[in-house]
């Protein structure tokens, strides 16, 4: 801005030629009766309409954000509650435990993780629980029959503890189911029906335990032969079959779910699986049918995925 422009923007000095020129702009007075006309118009005018919209200061944006936040938190709470109460499992939606996820990620020992699962800990028998449920630690190679026998002994202790815990858990679930039916006013089974059902559950458990025992016995024979021939067993030699068993068991559960589907649903579910997993699943399914192994999942007892394996086998 030049000096001349700055001067041109200065205030208009009274008495200057510009001021004298501007002062000639005379203003007529208000016409007579102006106030009366305004008053008449004011009194005759209709009442003003209420505002159509809320003012922007009411915080519409915050209300929207609060709604979204409440929705997200509510959904999270409902999902957590559904997962915690086992509702998702009732609809065949798999909810892997943190231990299983970690075991899959790291390739570590899933059965050992299952040993420390809260459900098992809650249902453990009071008599020999602490020692029996402690996971077996394998450190260093096992190269003598004595060391191997000691390892088997400790493993059997843990297995016994687990079987007892599983039986207690099955009884507890049956009792709570009966209690719920009683509270809801539903018809209860007779004493004979209840006993038959408990026997059926126990038989299923025994059958699964027997299958596990057969697998374990075969594996132990092989291990003993290796040790007697001077070969040292590492923890990996013992853990690898465990992982294979865990995978086989998972596939068994998956097969069971597939069995309950309609043929169309089953085809669709199989189509979604990775090819390798699909082949393994189909192979196991065929092997199961060939061996005529009854794939009955007992309704009430614990469906612990690693339940048929001992932690260190």
């Amino acid at each position: 801005m030049s000096v001349n422009e700055a001067k041109q923007g200065d205030p208009i000095t009274p008495g200057s030629p510009l001021a004298r020129a501007l002062d000639g702009y005379a203003v007529p007075g208000l016409s007579a009766g102006f106030a009366d006309r305004v008053l008449a118009a004011a009194e005759g005018a209709a009442a003003p309409l209420p505002p159509l919209r809320r003012r922007a200061s009411n915080g519409r944006g915050w209300r929207l954000g609060r709604g979204i936040a409440i929705g997200v938190v509510s959904f999270g709470a409902l999902a957590s509650a559904a997962a915690a109460t086992g509702l998702l499992q009732q609809f065949d939606i798999p909810v892997p435990s943190a231990e299983k996820v970690w075991a899959r990620l790291t390739g570590s020992q899933p059965a050992a993780a299952a040993a420390t699962a809260p459900v098992m800990a809650a249902a453990k028998p009071k008599s020999d629980a602490p020692a029996a449920l402690a996971p077996v630690q394998i450190t260093g190679p096992i190269d003598t029959p004595e060391e191997l026998a000691e390892a088997f002994r400790r493993i059997d202790e843990v297995r016994e503890g687990r079987f007892a815990a599983r039986r207690a858990l099955a009884d507890q679930r049956i009792d709570s189911a009966l209690e719920r039916r009683r509270a809801a006013g539903l018809p209860l089974p007779t004493a004979e029906q209840e006993a038959a059902f408990r026997d059926k559950v126990e038989a299923a458990q025994a059958r699964r335990q027997q299958l596990a025992d057969e697998r374990i016995a075969a594996r132990r024979d092989e291990m003993q032969r290796k040790v007697e021939s001077g070969e040292a067993l590492t923890s990996e030699d013992i853990l690898r079959p465990l992982r294979d068993d865990a995978r086989a068991l998972e596939r068994g559960e998956r097969i069971e779910r597939l069995r309950r589907m309609s043929p169309a649903q089953r085809r669709e579910a199989l189509r979604r699986l990775p090819p390798e997993e699909r082949r393994a699943l189909i192979e196991q399914y065929r092997a199961g049918r060939a061996a005529e192994v009854p794939a009955v999942v007992p309704p009430a007892p614990a469906s612990d995925p690693a339940g048929d394996q001992s932690p260190a086998e």
Binding site: G24, L30, A35, R37
Partner: protein
């Protein structure tokens, strides 16, 4: 004097000239005497602004009337925001509020007029007797009108408020809903334009 006229005079004595919250409360209570008092107090100044903005006496009266009716309509809201005796009541200036409404209405009407009939606002025909004094006064008036009405709307409003109404810059800025810096810039441009136009007229003569 009527009863409402008595109330009006009493309110003026009790409330004092600065306490517009009491007037707003009376307007909100639909007291016609309060509206009449507002017109008496502020009507002249509002009319001067409107007239110097539009250059038309009838238009100016229309603008002042509409501003007064808006005050009448919005008095309940204004009164609710500035209850008598509260801290907010001290900040209420009904004169400033009315001036802001008049300036905005005048600018709106000027824009509308320009849109409907493009071109300069014609001077009124002088129907007064052709006495020398009247002719001279008319010439001065016409020159001043021409100078002011040649300014853009907002620059014109700035000159009217600060030069003719002698408002401080801050109050004039408030009447135009502007911050003080922007208003001072606008006023600077208005004075520059005015001086250039005045110099141009001198050269033409």
């Amino acid at each position: 004097m009527t009863a409402s006229g008595d109330r009006s005079a009493q309110a003026q004595r009790v409330a004092g000239p600065g306490d517009d919250a009491a007037w707003a409360a009376r307007l909100a209570a639909r007291d016609p005497a309060a509206l009449r008092e507002m017109i008496t107090q502020h009507g002249g100044a509002l009319h001067r602004v409107a007239y110097r903005m539009t250059g038309d006496a009838h238009e100016a009266e229309d603008i002042v009337q509409e501003a007064c009716l808006r005050l009448w309509d919005q008095a309940p809201t204004i009164s609710a925001r500035h209850p008598v005796g509260s801290q907010a009541a001290g900040t209420l200036r009904l004169g400033g509020w009315l001036q802001r409404v008049v300036v905005n209405l005048a600018i709106d009407r000027l824009r509308r007029t320009r849109r409907l009939s493009p071109g300069e606002v014609p001077d009124d025909a002088d129907e007064a007797p052709l006495a020398d004094a009247l002719i001279e006064a008319g010439e001065r008036d016409a020159q001043a009108r021409a100078l002011v009405l040649a300014l853009p709307d907002r620059q014109r409003a700035a000159i009217v408020l600060t030069y003719y109404e002698e408002l401080p810059n801050a109050e004039a800025a408030a009447a135009m809903d502007m911050n003080i810096k922007a208003f001072e810039s606008l006023l600077h441009r208005a004075r520059t334009a005015l001086r250039q136009a005045f110099a141009g007229e001198g050269d033409a003569r």
